[in-house]
């Protein structure tokens, strides 16, 4: 996830907590909602919270804890909510950017003429995608069976599944092309 999107992701999560939320709980929420799709360490999370606070999109207040250090509790401000709404309703512009894809770069410089080098790469890459797909499938099944499945999670899972399916289809196309050439 890009830094810009992370900012809105954190803002979005804080916006769902009417009574505010502290950093530790927020990290847990990130993991329970998006798990492998979104990994965020504490350092990065607190940097983003700090940026949002300085921009006036979040407020922070100390929550007194007896016998333990106080905790910072974050709440979204009116300005933060407005910025989040503006962002939410804007369509996404960043379309296909194939050169950002590491595999595309590799194929570009390997060239599809060298089947002995490209084919093993395709095979290994397919293994990675299928393993990822199995991971998504297991997670989806666990969520469905636990009854914790929500529409939002299902949408994320559908998207992840469709992307891997597209990646696998693309590898099949490359493989067919290699076979035709050989």
């Amino acid at each position: 996830m890009s830094a810009g999107n992370l900012r809105y992701a954190v803002l979005g999560l804080v916006s769902t907590k009417a009574d505010g939320v502290h950093g530790y709980k927020l990290k847990g929420e990130c993991e329970s909602i998006a798990d492998e799709f979104w990994s965020l360490n504490y350092g990065r999370l607190y940097r983003i919270l700090d940026i949002l606070e300085r921009a006036g999109e979040l407020t922070v207040a100390d929550e007194i804890q007896h016998g333990r250090p106080n905790r910072k509790v974050y709440r979204i401000t009116e300005k933060g909510r407005q910025n989040l709404d503006d962002w939410l309703l804007q369509p996404v512009e960043d379309g296909a950017t194939p050169l950002r894809d590491e595999l595309v770069l590799k194929l570009l410089f390997l060239g599809t003429g060298d089947i002995d080098r490209v084919y093993p790469l395709i095979v290994q890459q397919r293994r990675i995608y299928l393993t990822r797909l199995a991971h998504i499938t297991r997670r989806r099944r666990r969520l469905e069976k636990s009854g914790a499945d929500s529409n939002a999670t299902a949408i994320i899972m559908d998207g992840a599944e469709m992307r891997v399916r597209a990646d696998l289809g693309w590898l099949d196309m490359i493989e067919r092309r290699l076979i035709r050439q050989s």
Partner: protein, 234 residues
């Protein structure tokens, strides 16, 4: 019935003669341990269905051996194969193959009647199988009154009724939309987890393959990739 492993060892199989001869399998070897759910994937003509038909004893190899557990399928007589299929092998096809004017439960009972199973045991097994596929509420409906997804559930119940040692499914979702297809593959996975029956599924869809413990990819009559999907990390 206890689950059996599936073994193909250096199997060759070709169809046709002379210039029209097609080599479907060229020294194919595969071992599916008892209880495993394994997907076979690969392009059309790669030999996927031939593997399934050999494991079911519907075809015999030109060379090599096919075993289910300790039973050597590839040398059995046609009578022995008939008994094996009736008692040990649950087959699920793409096009369901139900008898249209029989009810769901009559279709499920059919292999048991052919095998001379007694009435009380037949009732029990039909009930259990329909429960496993969540179709008890449609038991008295004719096959022609069922939706595609329901027909495939009944076909799976029919395969389960004999308490098979292996289930062989040839594109079981191929004639279904994606919602019903997902439900059928989930059902096969659930059954595999509940009764630990060895399950071999031919599919072209990687998402359905991802429900399995393992994906074997074939090309040109041989295994080209063997991918274990079992992971406790997830």
């Amino acid at each position: 019935m206890r689950s059996r492993s599936i073994h193909l060892s250096d199997v060759h199989k070709s169809f046709g003669e002379g210039t029209t001869r097609v080599h479907a399998l060229r020294g194919m070897s595969l071992e599916v341990p008892a209880g495993q759910m394994c997907a076979i994937m690969g392009p059309s003509g790669s030999g996927k269905s031939t593997v399934l038909h050999l494991a079911a004893g519907l075809l015999s190899p030109d060379a090599g051996t096919v075993r289910l557990g300790d039973r050597l399928v590839s040398t059995m007589s046609s009578d022995e194969l008939s008994v094996l299929r009736r008692r040990e092998i649950g087959i699920v096809f793409q096009f369901f193959n139900l008898l249209p004017y029989l009810t769901a439960e009559e279709n499920v009972a059919l292999p048991l009647r052919l095998d001379g199973v007694g009435a009380a045991e037949e009732r029990d097994r039909v009930q259990r199988s329909l429960e496993l596929v969540q179709m008890t509420h449609r038991r008295a409906h004719q096959a022609t009154d069922l939706s595609g997804g329901e027909m495939q559930r009944v076909a799976i119940a029919r395969a389960l009724a004999i308490s098979p040692s292996v289930i062989l499914a040839d594109e079981p979702t191929g004639n279904l939309d994606s919602v019903n297809g997902r439900q059928i593959i989930e059902l096969l996975r659930d059954i595999n987890e509940q009764v630990h029956v060895t399950t071999l599924v031919v599919t072209h869809d990687p998402v359905w393959g991802s429900f399995c413990d393992r994906i074997v990819r074939m090309s040109d009559g041989q295994v080209t990739e063997d991918i274990s999907l079992n992971s406790n990390a997830a």
